[in-house]
Symmetry: C2
Subunit: 204 residues, 2 copies
Amino acid sequence: MLVLHDNLGSGNGYKVRLLLSQLGRPFRRIEYDVTKGKTRTEEFLALNADGRIPLLQFPDGRVLAQSNAILFYLSQNTAYLPDDGFAQAEVLQWMFFEQYSHEPNIAVARYWLHFLDPSQVQQAQLEEKWQKGYQALDVMERRLSDRNFLVGDGYCIADIALYAYTHVADEAEMDLSPYPGIRRWLDRVAEQPGHVLITQEDFA
Amino acid sequence: MLVLHDNLGSGNGYKVRLLLSQLGRPFRRIEYDVTKGKTRTEEFLALNADGRIPLLQFPDGRVLAQSNAILFYLSQNTAYLPDDGFAQAEVLQWMFFEQYSHEPNIAVARYWLHFLDPSQVQQAQLEEKWQKGYQALDVMERRLSDRNFLVGDGYCIADIALYAYTHVADEAEMDLSPYPGIRRWLDRVAEQPGHVLITQEDFA
């Protein structure tokens, strides 16, 4: 069976849980407390030298890191990845945008405010994360103002990748009310068959 | 003809220049002075709402952003991308690692020290970039200590993506001498047929 090395609070882990659920693929979850450095042990570093979850482990022992690379692999030849080569590149464009401009700001602000002791957070650093996070949301809003999904006509892994941290932006104390296109899209993603919540723990 | 919206100093732009050259695909370069906000004009934002180069524009008007998504598109069905689905996912794993853990540290330190006025750089921020940049190099060294290229047996777009800023790490005042695996790999990449330098400006 597939083994997902994971953390329940992680949006990056959630991306993989969500797609595996929608594909109907059974998997076993191993939970790591990232606030206690549990992905930086020698044992874990032997699996992933980068010391991060999610990490997907296959029955033959192979492993794959980086949430968006895992989404790409699992979605090949399924309805969750377009067939067309240019559309696939657009999917990747949005996923690289997510890891470069969106996640490092929104996910990090959420981590500081929702999982660590907020009194330890430096206000100037938080302001910078919010500012850059809102810039990323501006780019998404421009894209989603007149279309249903990020790429082409249908729901795909680009939507999963951007949904993960956008739908919990309130936990980063960010306000989505000025983003009507994004809010409609969040509803559309949540209505997809097989959708699971970020808090769902068991996937028996 | 393909048009590459570009900046000569950018390693992200260089990735695309290098692959286009190795593929023998002619293209025209348009240079933007990113230090003067030339990718944040209304005209450019209409092409790419994210306001960043490189941006590849096709003869039919379509555009593609994000250097690594562009590499993926251009390399489909060529020797620069493995055929196998799992190997493709490993390529993407290294490219997401590059944009998340490598570029935001090494490229940003290089930008501050090499392109801006170094007296304006805050030492504490620079130290943090160096520390995280060396962590990324540690991960690469662990991978490259006993293999020739990042994925499989041959040179591919994962190598191009990581080469871009690693080979100019000295311009970020970072020292590669403790990384023998990386240094051998840099030589191997530079020896590939059709290699061009980051400073090459004309591609007639």
